[in-house]
Symmetry: C2
Subunit: 324 residues, 2 copies
C-alpha cells in the first residue's frame, strides 16, 4: 500500500490543464501498489488512474513500459492505456517525478484465490504472451538469474538473522538452479509480476470469474515465456499454509496450454523455472527485509514464505508434481 | 493510510447481495483514513464508499454517527449518506466487523492549505453546527478535557524519551488549561476532527475553492461549538514551519461568524480552547507514539508538532493573536 507523494491541488490542476479530460471531480490515493504512488482520478469525462513513478522505476525505461501497454491493448489485451495529453505525450512530470494518467479498468482483484480464478488467469497469461508478439523492443530482465547471486551476496550479512542457516541453504539452492537453468526456451514479453493484486476479475453472467484486466507492467521484460507461468504458479497455487494446490496448478496450466501449448523443453524446464521464480521473490524480499530500517512506513513481506515454495519446487521431480 | 481488512470477493459479493446497488464494477482500497478501512466501490449504479469499522470505533456508537450524518444531510450539509440495504438497515457486518456503505462525495482534499480554503472551511463549519441543531441525542466527547490527565498519565513512562522535559511541560500546560477551561458555552454537535483530509473542495466557476463536502464523522460528539473552531484553527492555520498564519485564521473566523456570530464568552475562551485542542491531539499522538511497537504498519504522527502549536496558544494573550 503506497501513496508516497502528496500532490497539492494546485499542482494537480496545473497538471490536468495539459489534458483534455474535463473538470476534476475527485482524487483519492489508492492503497494497493507497492512501488509507485497511485491515485484514483475522476473527472467529468470518467475514471482514470494517475501514477507517480517513485524511485524504484528507472525513468529511462518508462517509454518501454508505456509502449508495451499500448501495444498489448492494441492487440486485444485489457490493460491500462496511457492517456496522451494535448501535446500527444503521455509520459509527463508531476511533483518532480515522472507521471502518467492511464485508463481505469473495471474489476476486483481476488483477495483469496479460488480454483475458479486459476483457469482464467492461465488463459489471460497466454493472451498476454500472444499480444506481446510483434513488440520487438527488448527489455532485459534485471531481476533474472544473473541478478540472483549478487542479490544473495548483499543479503549475506543479515540473512541468517532472519532464519539460522538460511544463507547456506540459499547458496546450495541457487547453485542447483543456475546449473539447471535452461539456455534456450521460447522468449517474449512477460509480465514478471502477475500476482493476484495485478489481475482484475468480474463475474460472467453465470457467476464464474473472468479476467477483466491486467495491471502494473513495471516489472515486465523480455524473457522465457514459461518463466512467467512459473511466477504465476508460485503466486497463485500455494495455500495460506504454503501447501501446493495441484488442482489450481492443473487448471492454470491447462488453460494456458489451450491457447499456447508448451513445448517439451518448456514442460521439462517448469520445475527449475518455478525454483528460480521462488528464488527471485525470496531474494528481493530478503533484501528488503534486511535493508529496511525497523519502523519505516513500508510493508515488508516475509521472505520465508518463498523458502517454503522453493523447497516444494526443489523436491519436485518433474512436471507431474504440477498436476500434468 | 489504512486498509486493515482484506475482503474476499465472495464475501464482498455476498455483502452486496443485501443491497439494491446493481452489479459490482470495481473495488479498491483507499489510502486515506487512519481509523477505519475504506474502499472505493463502483457498481452499475454509481460510486460508493464501503467502510469497515476497525477496533478504535465502538460499535455501540455507530448508530449515533450514522444518524448524525443522515440528520446533517437532511438539513442541507454535504456529507456521506449511509445507504440502506433492502431490509432498511445501513449498519451491517462484513468480515466480522461492523460495516456500512455511504454515498460518494465529489471533491479533493487540500494537500496544502491555502488562504482561499480557510474562509469556505469556516463557513462550512458554521453550516455543520447549524445543521446539527435538532439532532438531540448527545454523545459525550470521550477525548474531551476530562480525558487529558489520564491520557497524560499513560504517556508518563515513555514521554520524556520523545523529548526531554516533555512531561513536565505538559503537566504545567494541562494544569493551566483545565483551570481556565470554560464551564458554559454554546453546545451542539461538533465534528471534532475537521482536518484538511476530511474536507473536500471543488473550484467554483471563477476558480475559487468551495467546500464540496465533509467526511469522517467518527469523532463527532456533543461539546462546545467554539471548540470545533479551535480544532480547525490548529489544523488549518499553522504553516509547515509551525508559524501561525493570522490571515488564514482571520478568514476562517470571519466566515464562521458571518453565519454564526461567536458570543463574547466564546471569543474570550478561544485561546484556551485552542490550547486544549492542541493538547488533545498532542496527547493522542504521544500515546500512539509511545505505545506503537517499532515496525508496526501504522503511520505514527509526530506529537511534537502539537507542542509547537500549544506553545503558540499559551503565549496568546487574547483573541487579537488570532487576527480579531
Amino acid at each position: 500500500m503506497a501513496v508516497y507523494t502528496e500532490i497539492s491541488d494546485e499542482a494537480l490542476r496545473a497538471y490536468l490543464s495539459d489534458y483534455s479530460l474535463g473538470e476534476l471531480v475527485a482524487f483519492r490515493g489508492i492503497a494497493e501498489g507497492v512501488e509507485n504512488s497511485n491515485y484514483a482520478l475522476k473527472t467529468t469525462t470518467g475514471d482514470y488512474i494517475l501514477t507517480l513513478y517513485e524511485k524504484r522505476v528507472d525513468p529511462a525505461e518508462l517509454p518501454w513500459f508505456l509502449g508495451l501497454m499500448r501495444h498489448l491493448a492494441a492487440h486485444g489485451l485489457s490493460c491500462p492505456q496511457p492517456v496522451a495529453a494535448r501535446d500527444g505525450e503521455a509520459l509527463r512530470e508531476l511533483c518532480g517525478r515522472p507521471a502518467a494518467i492511464c485508463t481505469f479498468l473495471p474489476g476486483v482483484w481476488p483477495r483469496r484465490v479460488r480454483q475458479g480464478h486459476c483457469g482464467p488467469l492461465g488463459a489471460a497469461l497466454a493472451e498476454l504472451h500472444a499480444a506481446g508478439t510483434g513488440f520487438t523492443a527488448e527489455r532485459p530482465n534485471s531481476l533474472g538469474p544473473q541478478s540472483w547471486a549478487p542479490l544473495l551476496d548483499r543479503c549475506r550479512a543479515g540473512g541468517d538473522a532472519v532464519q539460522p542457516g538460511l544463507i547456506a541453504e540459499l547458496d546450495g539452492q541457487l547453485e542447483g538452479i543456475l546449473r539447471a537453468w535452461p539456455r534456450d526456451l521460447p522468449r517474449g514479453q512477460i509480465h514478471a509480476d502477475l500476482f493476484p493484486d495485478n489481475v482484475f476479475f468480474l463475474d460472467d453472467a453465470g457467476g464464474a470469474p473472468r479476467v477483466s484486466g491486467l495491471i502494473d507492467f513495471y516489472f515486465a521484460c523480455t524473457d522465457f515465456l514459461a518463466y512467467d507461468l512459473a511466477i504465476c504458479l508460485n503466486a497463485w497455487c500455494f495455500e495460506p499454509d504454503f501447501s501446493f494446490n495441484i488442482t489450481k496448478a492443473r487448471a492454470m496450466i491447462h488453460a494456458y496450454q489451450s491457447l499456447r501449448p508448451l513445448t517439451e523443453a518448456e514442460l521439462a524446464a517448469l520445475p527449475v523455472l518455478c525454483r528460480g521464480a521462488a528464488m527471485r521473490f525470496l531474494l528481493t524480499r530478503l533484501f528488503d527485509w534486511t535493508h529496511t530500517p525497523a519502523g519505516a512506513m513500508v510493508t515488508r513481506k516475509d521472505p520465508l514464505e518463498y523458502l517454503k515454495r522453493l523447497r516444494f519446487h526443489a523436491a519436485a521431480q518433474d512436471i507431474h508434481a504440477y498436476g500434468l
